[in-house]
């Protein structure tokens, strides 16, 4: 990084987080907490497509929640260079079965950080993208699980965050909609916005991201081009 480079959009430094252990209520001074993250550091620059790779249970989802400002880190710092709208790609989370698809689209958009007016302006394109037709005016309780995912994905695509956090989701719904949604995500990857994606699959990271960070047992193991990081990760996974 040269002196003229702009500061990183997100700067993660020595971040650690531990969960309380429900089986160890009386710890008598001993640390019985479950350490999800111990020492994670990396930068995210404007427009980065960053892939975070690691085995199940390495702390990827906890890191996502810290970046989404659901948790504060116990140790270390997460700094943003400006006011940033960060959104986790959470499909159908927070939908209310008694409300219609239209009402849920507005409500979900507000949960994702947008105003009611913003969502109402985009409601017809959400309806069109979801292909739910008359079901859009029906309570979500009448939807199949695939229809819920369609609605969730269509809402998420209309919220335009500064940073999109993706947790292993690429295509959703039946075969036709899965392809459509996969294309929509890939288009996001080729646009200017910043994306952070977590996965345990190095081929997806290598195909879509320009940078990659490998996390293992709550620590940053490597940070660099996806091909190099993926190679180091695969070597460790296969015990090479």
């Amino acid at each position: 990084m040269s002196a003229s480079d702009p500061p990183p959009l997100i700067s993660v430094r020595h971040v650690g987080l531990a969960y309380a252990n429900p089986l160890a209520r009386f710890t008598f001074g001993r640390d019985r907490r479950i350490h999800a993250l111990r020492d994670v550091s990396f930068d995210v620059r404007e427009g980065d497509k960053l892939g975070i790779i690691g085995r199940n249970g390495c702390g990827k989802s906890t890191l996502m929640r810290i970046l989404a400002r659901v948790y504060d880190a116990d140790t270390g710092t997460v700094e943003f260079s400006r006011q940033v709208h960060i959104q986790m790609l959470s499909l159908g989370v927070g939908f209310e079965g008694s409300l219609t698809g239209r009402e849920n689209a507005v409500l979900n958009g507000m949960l994702l950080g947008k105003t009611r007016t913003h969502m109402l302006e985009r409601i017809e394109s959400i309806k069109a993208f979801s292909e739910l037709r008359d079901f859009f005016e029906m309570p979500v309780a009448t939807y199949s699980s695939g229809m819920v995912l369609r609605l969730g994905f269509s809402v998420a695509m209309e919220t335009e965050p500064d940073v999109l956090l993706i947790d292993e989701v690429l295509g959703v719904g039946d075969a036709a909609f899965a392809e459509k949604s996969r294309q929509a995500i890939i288009e996001r990857f080729s646009a200017h916005g910043t994306i952070i994606m977590i996965s345990h699959d190095p081929t997806i990271i290598a195909a879509l991201c320009n940078r990659s960070v490998w996390i293992d047992q709550g620590r940053t193991m490597a940070d660099g081009p996806p091909a190099e990081v993926s190679a180091a990760y695969l070597k460790a996974v296969h015990g090479g």
Partner: protein, 255 residues
């Protein structure tokens, strides 16, 4: 921008809660009116006809006390679990933790307002027509709502950390149920205990409601003011607590 967004979320969630509750029953919204009417009829039959303990006046007296108490206790205890029950949503979005307890209180409040309308109708039917003192009703109900919200928030936070809080709170409400003046008025309280009786803000609120609905005179404004000040203090403390734990609390919920 954030506040308008939060109010939007609260509005839609409240709407969803009301719709969901009405759809659980075959008769839907009709129960809002039917339920208090059935309660009134049961009280009337049991107290006036079977036990010969007071006439319609005592039934009304009890009905006002019981329904207002039910709004208070039910709202607080439901709100106490509001953060825990919505943790699957809160783990995905950066939202202030007061939203779901507040939604829970508003859904209960909507239901209570219908019940209250029935009580006003029943009072009228038993010879207590609306008078100009009814203008005090929004103030009294506002004081009770403020008290509920001020208790709901710290309860929801505490229950998220330690589930046992709910059991302790339920026991406290049960004790308070018998000493808040639901079954008796302040004239039955020994003079030496009146100060302690009014320390409980619900005592002043229940008395004020009866003053307006049954006695057609102004409420006990001193008791209401005390309750409102206490509630404001609790609310500020609850909001501070809620912001303080906002990004820590979910690490403990569900454990």
């Amino acid at each position: 921008m954030h506040l308008s967004r939060y109010w939007g979320i609260i509005f839609y969630r409240t709407l969803a809660g009301i719709k969901a509750e009405s759809r659980q029953n075959y008769l839907g919204y009709f129960w809002y009116v039917l339920e208090p009417l059935i309660s009134a009829a049961i009280f009337y039959f049991a107290l006036s006809r079977v036990m010969q303990r007071g006439g319609p006046e005592y039934v009304l007296f009890l009905l006002i006390g019981l329904t207002s108490w039910q709004w208070y206790e039910g709202s607080c205890l439901q709100a106490a679990t509001a953060i825990k029950s919505k943790v699957h949503i809160l783990l995905h979005f950066d939202l202030p933790k007061f939203i779901f307890p507040l939604v829970s209180v508003l859904v209960s409040t909507w239901k209570f307002l219908w019940i209250f309308l029935v009580i006003v109708g029943v009072s009228w039917a038993f010879g207590h027509p609306p008078g100009w003192h009814y203008l005090y009703l929004p103030l009294i109900l506002g004081c009770e709502l403020l008290l509920i919200v001020s208790l709901a928030l710290p309860l929801a936070v505490a229950t998220s950390y330690v589930n046992d809080t709910l059991t302790v709170a339920a026991s406290c409400f049960r004790i308070s149920y018998f000493v808040s003046g639901i079954f008796f008025d302040s004239s039955k309280v020994p003079a030496s205990l009146l100060g302690a009786f009014y320390l409980n803000p619900m005592a002043g609120i229940l008395e004020s409601l009866r003053d307006v609905l049954l006695e057609n005179h102004a409420p006990n404004l001193h008791a209401l003011l005390y309750g409102a000040l206490l509630s404001c203090g609790l609310l500020l403390a609850g909001l501070y607590l809620s912001f303080f734990v906002n990004r820590r609390i979910l690490k403990h919920v569900g454990l």
